[in-house]
Assembly symmetry: C2
Homo-oligomer: 117 residues x 2
DNA sequence: AATATTAATCGTAATATTGCAATGAAACAA
DNA sequence: TTGTTTCATTGCAATATTACGATTAATATT
């Protein structure tokens, strides 16, 4: 069966903390340039994107659709049906939550961490 | 042949900007809880880690070794041979560089981004 | 109603990731 | 030297990801 949701591969998630799994899940969704490009475009246009993502990013429509689905499942974007079109935009609230989790991980103090190597 | 370096899958990297590919590469290495755990441990102990990662994280030694290799190839950690042991630590300089790239991506303004959805 | 537009889903091929047992290599200890 | 410790590498099985053609579903247009 086709894989529709980004999983942790064969990763033994049960041996890691919830925090570690959460960070990895967020990071994984950013781990593909197409999804980075989609998000950057949503930020750039400063409004909903309605259908022009396929022309914006040079990938086939089913491919874009699949990437959008992953982003939506993680809650980072919202989709709204408008006629035959679907409009997508950043979910600000969830984006902020994600940002806080990632910042805490990335923003650790690096002073004197590499003195012995 | 076995894949030793995290690649972008079948991703058509050539259609994306250097920035987008860079972000995706960094994100991808954080996209596994074992690597998140390794990095968190390196930050926590505030010094080099010499061999106890396998006892700290409940994965087989070759598995840890492979994750360390990925982190080292991206430059986020440094390894130092000391006798039969190898000591690992965060590469502060590269960590800071990575952090700036990721912050710029994550820290985009979310105000009024979801008014139409 | 018939056709067009838009986007989701299905099915599948190509490739990547994860994990580990087995093995190898290098330094140390007896 | 022989054995031990520590870590890297190889080879492989199980599973996930990416991409897209074909199809479906839903709405809009004529």
């Amino acid at each position: 069966m086709k894989q529709l949701i980004l999983k942790m591969g064969l990763a033994k998630t049960e041996i890691f903390t919830e925090d570690q799994n959460q960070i990895a899940l967020f990071a994984k969704v950013f781990g593909h340039p197409a999804r980075v490009a989609i998000l950057q475009h949503l930020f750039k246009i400063d409004t909903c994107v309605c259908g022009d993502l396929v022309t914006e990013i040079k990938l086939a429509q089913p491919t874009i659709s699949q990437h959008l689905k992953e982003l939506k499942l993680l809650g980072l974007i919202k989709g709204n049906v408008e006629g035959t079109r679907v409009c997508y935009c950043i979910d600000s609230e969830n984006w902020t939550t994600m940002k806080e989790v990632m910042f805490q991980f990335l923003n650790q103090d690096t002073t004197k961490k590499d003195m012995c190597c």
